[in-house]
Symmetry: C2
Subunit: 230 residues, 2 copies
Amino acid sequence: MQLRLYDLAGADANRRFSPYCWRIRMALAHKDLPVETIPWRFTEKDAIAASGQPRVPVLVDGEKWLADSWTIANYLENTYADRPPLFGGEAGRGLSFFYSNVADTLVGTIFPLIALDIYQNIDEKDRGYFRASREERVGTTLEKLVADRDSRVTAVRQTFAALRLTLKEQPFFGGERPLYADYAIFGPFQWARCISAFALLAADDPIRSWRERMLNLFGGLARSSPGYDT
Amino acid sequence: MQLRLYDLAGADANRRFSPYCWRIRMALAHKDLPVETIPWRFTEKDAIAASGQPRVPVLVDGEKWLADSWTIANYLENTYADRPPLFGGEAGRGLSFFYSNVADTLVGTIFPLIALDIYQNIDEKDRGYFRASREERVGTTLEKLVADRDSRVTAVRQTFAALRLTLKEQPFFGGERPLYADYAIFGPFQWARCISAFALLAADDPIRSWRERMLNLFGGLARSSPGYDT
């Protein structure tokens, strides 16, 4: 039975931009598991109610409804153990969890630069919910949040130092080949790329070269969403 | 032939405080390789000249002089391949390099909180060199650098978020057992602990519980240096 993934979409149903869903899209491709993706909007909570929580990614495998990207990644690794390993062995599974958490903090770091672009690219019906929930969280308007982003981007780029130092020396976080660690970190950068024309990464940043390598994987899967190659 | 490690020491020769040397002390213990550590001061560049560069750790294995903690870790893994693996396999080696780079950036994050404590704990003969080189690097005096550390520590602790999220859920970065990733990240925290009474970590921080687990490894090896359990 075909796997199904509820996948966050913008006003354009092809614009898939969730940093968390992209981890799983890439992980499924790594395991060569076909999946039917279902475009989902923030306010369609009912569609994923069977998962017991209100956020995507939600993966449906037969009777099973799974949520949370780390939980789903572990489920895929355990259930489809005969397919290419996502973590690089048991030690690799332990080592990969930190990458998942680093990726989560990257979402928080990048959000103040692209928040208004998200608002502008999401479906009309999601806008009220998105603005109200995010403005309450950050304590200001989306417009004020991004206002001085040109001056703040340098400091944000500096917080990527350890990623950059790594990718200067090796093609992927997994070494010579990409692993779940790469998909986790790719999520936030792909999120920004799909939703915002703002130049998050300098043209000569090794992170940008790695992002290109990631975009080339699996027949260019991650290019299948509309995006901005800034 | 016994391995020898040049190991940064304070005025008290037993106070071993280099964040980079601690990675290697722990890695050697992980591989159950006995080592003679030689207390070394910042200004004793001649003693390690055979390594072709001026910084510790420097490991001497027979005729070989090795420098740079990541290079040394890889040397140990390759040369003593029959002993417990440091990285958790080849995929783990790739995944571990990012931890080494995260640890390097942690040194930069923590330094402005403990810079003056380092100065006060190092050997008299090192003080002129240390003050001049570090004040040039940071563009201010050591005293001014640490002046408002009580108000800055909260922001510094927030930069540890991804470490904390990981250690809330698993005992080590390597999962159930420590790996080189743990030793790399331990370095900066052990550095701070050995040289400064400043409370870098809150008492209830999961990073602090992990630090305790790290201090307990190998018969309490990392407690062998004088330090401050704040």
